[in-house]
Symmetry: C2
Subunit: 229 residues, 2 copies
């Protein structure tokens, strides 16, 4: 199956969670908007927003839903229902976490510039770093402890592991001082990040032009004034 991914070509954003799964699995895919100007896609199941994935006649939107579909096909999810639901549950928790990362720099409106909500972003980021971020990190570290590791589901890597890698990568870019202080408490999560980053296909992908650099248009943004002092 040849997959076609539709997502903003300038940012990692939500699309990156799908790119990572496709790259890790060495899937046959085209990142459509990075390779052509075409923006049109008709479907009887219209997406609310990118990313969306075309696979044969199917057009699927919502990041976690796309990964739910791709998981078993890319051998990145268990085949049994209980395992698939658990992987999806973890992915939906990553999605909630990512929303909070976004809102740390855009607490008032996604259609407004950061500069129009900087004061509010300082308050929200402080709350995010003090109370929400540790809650998410505690949770995923706990899942790795319970699973026995090295992966969230145990002995086999599944797509939420790639997403947890991406969360840590993004947080290090956006909040380097905060991460430097926090990460000592999360050895299993840090080890997972390293293990993913060291996989040969990921090494190749991360060094390629297909990996868009983090930047201030994306979801993870580095504004020094929002990081811990």
């Amino acid at each position: 199956m040849k997959y076609r991914l539709y997502y903003w070509p300038e940012i990692q954003g939500r699309g990156e969670f799908i790119r990572l799964a496709l790259e890790y699995a060495d899937a046959d895919y085209v990142d459509v908007w990075r390779t052509s100007g075409s923006r049109n896609h008709k479907s009887k199941h219209p997406p609310f927003a990118p990313p969306y994935l075309a696979a044969g006649k199917l057009v699927i939107a919502q990041t976690a839903n796309i990964l739910l579909y791709l998981g078993p096909r890319l051998r990145l999810a268990p085949r049994d229902e209980a395992g698939r639901l658990w992987a999806h549950q973890l992915q939906l928790t990553v999605a909630d976490w990512l929303d909070e990362v976004h809102d740390a720099h855009h607490p008032i409106g996604s259609g407004l510039y950061y500069e129009e909500q900087r004061r509010e972003a300082k308050r929200r980021s402080a709350d995010f770093l003090a109370s929400r971020l540790p809650k998410y990190l505690d949770y995923f570290e706990g899942v790795l402890r319970t699973s026995g590791g090295p992966w969230l589901l145990g002995k086999r890597l599944a797509y939420p592991d790639l997403s947890l890698f991406q969360m840590l990568a993004g947080l290090r870019y956006a909040f380097p001082r905060s991460q430097a202080r926090l990460e000592g408490r999360y050895p299993r999560t840090v080890a997972l990040h390293q293990r993913v980053a060291g996989h040969p296909r990921l090494v190749r992908y991360l060094a390629s032009p297909r990996r868009i650099p983090f930047n201030r248009q994306g979801i993870f943004r580095h504004y020094p004034e929002l990081d811990r002092i």
Copy 2:
């Protein structure tokens, strides 16, 4: 199958989307925390937060994930994969919408009181009502137009229809002036709401003590100063 739902007993919140599906399908379930003091639930798949559902040996968290599981079992979702993914995609879009409703009154931190973020809430609510709310309503009205109605998936009701009913009910409670102005543009969505509300099992449920009234602890909150003037 007897289902056990675990969710805060004082609010509709996210749990209500599951309650509505269970009630509409006349399923055998217990709303555990409304009927007993027990708060403990051990699982090898720990939830990040309520709601979660116990079904035999499974414990499933994340509202949309629970509905993904329940959908075919309660005959509230298509059986084919494309239909199930589409229903789930709509549900995930409802989840995003609901997050934005929550953040309209809590833009800075979910652990802070509304009174501690009232000024920011006014800005965020104004942006939500002016730009985000119409975008979501336009989208779902468009889906109803494309499907041919009366339901989001066409001729048969599926669980996202119950969720869209709940969104409209909540928005009318939280933002009555804004809804009064907007709803004329969304006849299909309004008709869907009425149709769900008029279903005998829903009429019975909504009039029962099992339906918790909207209140200022829930996700939909009525603060007159956040509504349109």
